[in-house]
């Protein structure tokens, strides 16, 4: 289950390292700000009641 806490800097640094992301401190500071934005947006997504809604992503084998 995904956490609903805002992303801490320590968690960001750990995740960035695991994903192979590196850069100058100023770059990582800005990226941290953007990654926090992603987590805030994800919280908004989780707050939507999607009961009964199936994502339109069915894989349909080609017939031709």
């Amino acid at each position: 289950m995904a956490s609903e806490q805002p992303l801490s800097r320590e968690d960001f640094d750990r995740m960035a390292k695991l994903m192979g992301i590196s850069g100058e401190p100023a770059y990582l500071d800005e990226l941290y700000s953007q990654a926090r934005g992603v987590f805030i947006s994800a919280k908004s997504i989780r707050d939507i009641d999607v009961t009964g809604a199936e994502p339109d992503m069915a894989f349909i084998p080609k017939t031709d």
């Binding site: 995904a2 992303l7 995740m15 994903m19 192979g20 992301i21 770059y27 800005e30 990226l31 953007q34 990654a35 934005g37 992603v38 987590f39 947006s41 994800a42 908004s44 997504i45 989780r46 939507i48 999607v50 809604a53 199936e54 994502p55 339109d56 992503m57 031709d64």
Partner: protein
């Protein structure tokens, strides 16, 4: 004929003169190349200009037409393609020096269709790097500048297309629209931009930003030219897995000037969001005009509009990061920093959140379809503001200061999420002389109704006849 007049003629009007041999394709291309030479130092619309190639193609078109081999309304008409449309033998950079020397072996489907129709490729147009931004910034090939005020952005990501069409550098241009990238520069530059229904125009051979949100489409100066262009580029393509097998009508049949009986809904949520009062007034005046012409207008509610930013950004960022992951790992340090940051930030989206966004997307789609059971079109602003200053990160929308990226995609992204057709048509100017756009969205594959209303409005006003002070 005066060269500048040629540059500002629509494809619809120019094609009549070409067919009747009153104007030759050579004259048309020479006029446009002169216009480009005059204005390009200010605008920076092009990444690659094909001066000699287009002159040679014009001479061939002239011979063909003289010999009675007229191909149709785009024969001899200059076209500019956003530089993420692959073009055989012509470099395609996607707005990045990383691909500065990439020369595709094959045309994308849209470019091939233009070629078959006899259109002349004038050049490849500047764009926000990898189409990942709504302003028209590009440090690799230079930022794009708005013809109405070069200190302001063109909007993006198809910024060069917006400025080239608005300034008379090209008769027809194309864009691609993932969160608004056709309609945003169309509104901010004062031209017409049509995002067709998802799957109606082939994406094959275009650099992707987000597979499920990308829509290619025309950016032109008149609604008629949007219809003429759609007649050429729409249609099923087996090479695009999302391509729709639908009948393609003659889109110009929609241009009747008649909106009597058309039902137009105004989502109340549009007017509860941050919105510049000048834009609000221009849009309300435009809808009132349509009502006076016989359309039935009523307020509707589109609650999922308020969820569109979260849905759009989650889907777009995850897909863009997946598409560009190899590039990010290999050449990340060569990307424009804000683009690299967006791509790397997208890696922080979990699969579960991406799929939940897709669930919410299905709900937004269902709500939109229900709304369009009761009305034929949804109308509102294309943009909440006029063009912001170049490189600004914040903008005032009325009394609220908001982020530029969120502001510029505020009204456009819902129709990338559900794939419905949406057009931006000029509907006024601010006190400072910057264009304002009216957005009309319709039912899936009902471009005819969208074009019909946009054309009727356009013909009842003179906004589309104004020219930028260049």
């Amino acid at each position: 004929m005066d060269a500048l007049e040629i540059c500002y003629m629509s494809a619809g009007d120019l094609s009549k003169l070409v067919q009747s041999k009153e104007v030759s394709p050579v004259e048309i291309i020479d006029a446009h190349l002169a216009r480009i030479e005059e204005t390009e130092p200010v605008l920076n619309s092009f990444i690659t200009l094909l001066a000699e190639e287009s002159r040679a193609a014009a001479r061939q078109a002239e011979k063909d037409i003289q010999a009675g081999r007229y191909k149709g309304p785009l024969h001899g008409i200059p076209v500019g393609l956003k530089d993420l449309y692959n073009t055989a033998g012509v470099r395609t950079t996607s707005g990045s020096k990383i691909f500065d020397t990439f020369i595709p072996a094959e045309d994308c489907t849209v470019a091939a269709k233009f070629h078959q129709a006899g259109a002349i490729l004038l050049g490849k147009l500047n764009m926000h790097q990898f189409a990942y931004g709504p302003t028209g910034e590009n440090p690799d090939y230079g930022h794009m500048h708005n013809p109405w005020n070069p200190e302001m952005v063109t909007g993006g990501s198809s910024g060069g297309s917006g400025s080239a069409a608005a300034a008379g550098q090209c008769t027809i241009t194309t864009g691609s629209d993932t969160g608004g990238s056709i309609r945003i520069p169309a509104a901010l530059c004062g031209i017409v931009g049509l995002k067709p229904t998802y799957g109606l125009v082939s994406r094959w051979g275009l650099t992707a930003l987000s597979w499920s949100l990308d829509h290619p489409g025309p950016m032109v100066r008149t609604v008629e030219d949007a219809a003429i262009t759609m007649n050429v580029i729409a249609g099923y393509d087996p090479r695009d897995i999302a391509s729709a097998k639908v009948d393609i009508p003659d889109y110009t049949t929609a241009l009747t000037g008649d909106v009597r009986g058309l039902r137009i809904g105004m989502p109340k949520e549009y007017f509860e969001a941050p919105l510049d009062p000048q834009v609000r007034k221009a849009v309300l005046d435009a809808v009132s005009l349509l009502e006076s012409m016989g359309a039935e207008v009523k307020e509707v509610s589109f609650p999922m509009f308020n969820e569109s930013q979260a849905i759009s950004s989650t889907v777009l960022m995850a897909e863009a990061s997946a598409y560009h992951r190899d590039l990010l790992e290999k050449d990340g340090h060569r990307l424009y920093e804000p683009v690299r940051q967006r791509l790397e930030a997208g890696l922080f989206i979990s699969a579960a959140d991406y799929l939940r966004a897709q669930q919410a997307r299905a709900m937004l789609d269902a709500e939109g379809r229900r709304l369009l059971d009761d009305v034929d079109l949804l109308a509102g602003p294309t943009e909440p503001v006029t063009a912001p200053e170049l490189l600004a990160s914040r903008v005032m929308a009325g009394e609220q200061e908001i982020g530029v990226v969120g502001a510029l995609t505020q009204y456009t992204r819902p129709y990338n999420i559900n794939g419905f057709p949406a057009i931006s048509v000029p509907c006024g100017f601010s006190e400072s002389g910057m264009p304002i756009g009216l957005q009309l969205a319709g039912k899936p594959f009902d471009e005819l109704t969208v074009l019909r209303a946009a054309h009727a409005y356009e013909q009842a006003t003179d906004w589309h006849t104004r020219r930028p002070p260049l």
